[in-house]
Symmetry: C2
Subunit: 116 residues, 2 copies
DNA sequence: CCATCATATTCCGATAACGGTATGCGTCAA
DNA sequence: TTGACGCATACCGTTATCGGAATATGATGG
């Protein structure tokens, strides 16, 4: 039984990129593959910290690893970002229209006075 | 003194859309404003559940409220999605290129044998 | 003012996410 | 084999998140 509490969380790309540091990792990897230590150093995080974030990114398929001797080179696999881009693209027409709607909203606000 | 544990989390759009139910809410709101109860019902969640997700969405500016008599109509404000769309757009050129790189990766995999 | 409907908030328990430190494991060189 | 290096994992503490139920707040109608 036990309450379900907190449904599915990590383990999808949406969640993976919700973490600022993971976004930084992805951004850096656009410049090319890198070993863990380099990433950690460039982003100012501990090595275990980097490894853990990389694990998440690997599990959702946003990065891949390649053993290179003693090192493990992490590389970007951006394909997993595409579904997200498309999902958000479905709102593209709205983030202009939103301005218009906002007018009505603001007008209404003046009377209602429940703004935030 | 006191471990930092879990840095910034919620309170930005990336995190807001990391939640599946919140994505559903946003998707639904494209069809127009809705009172809380309607959302809860259409998405099969409890009223407090809906209210809580709406609160998060409101705090990051992805929805706005409008008092309509006894009800509160929630409407989409998609502008906050634009930065995300742009951030991901910065990877667009890579999710094709990734295929190519994948070849080298797979080849390497055959020798290294550390594939997951 | 009171009852009622719509919504927000609070309290709770369970969980998992993050950061840090310590440690384990694999690989390479000697 | 041993030691050093690179990286992954385990463990710990802290905090935040999510879901659920109960309750508080707000607005409307009578």
């Amino acid at each position: 039984m036990a309450a379900v509490a907190r449904a599915a969380t990590t383990s999808d790309a949406f969640n993976a990129i919700a973490e600022p540091q993971r976004r930084e990792i992805l951004a850096l990897l656009r410049a090319g593959e890198r070993p863990v230590t380099a990433l950690a150093q460039e982003l100012g995080m501990t090595q275990p910290g980097a490894s853990k974030h990389l694990r998440v990114l690997r599990e959702v398929g946003l990065v891949r690893v390649r053993g290179a001797g003693k090192q493990r080179l992490y590389g970007l696999d951006a394909r997993g970002l595409r579904p997200i881009h498309e999902w958000i693209g479905g709102f593209e027409q709205f983030w202009n229209e939103s301005f218009d709607r906002l007018d009505t909203y603001v007008q209404d606000l003046k009377q209602t006075r429940q703004g935030e």
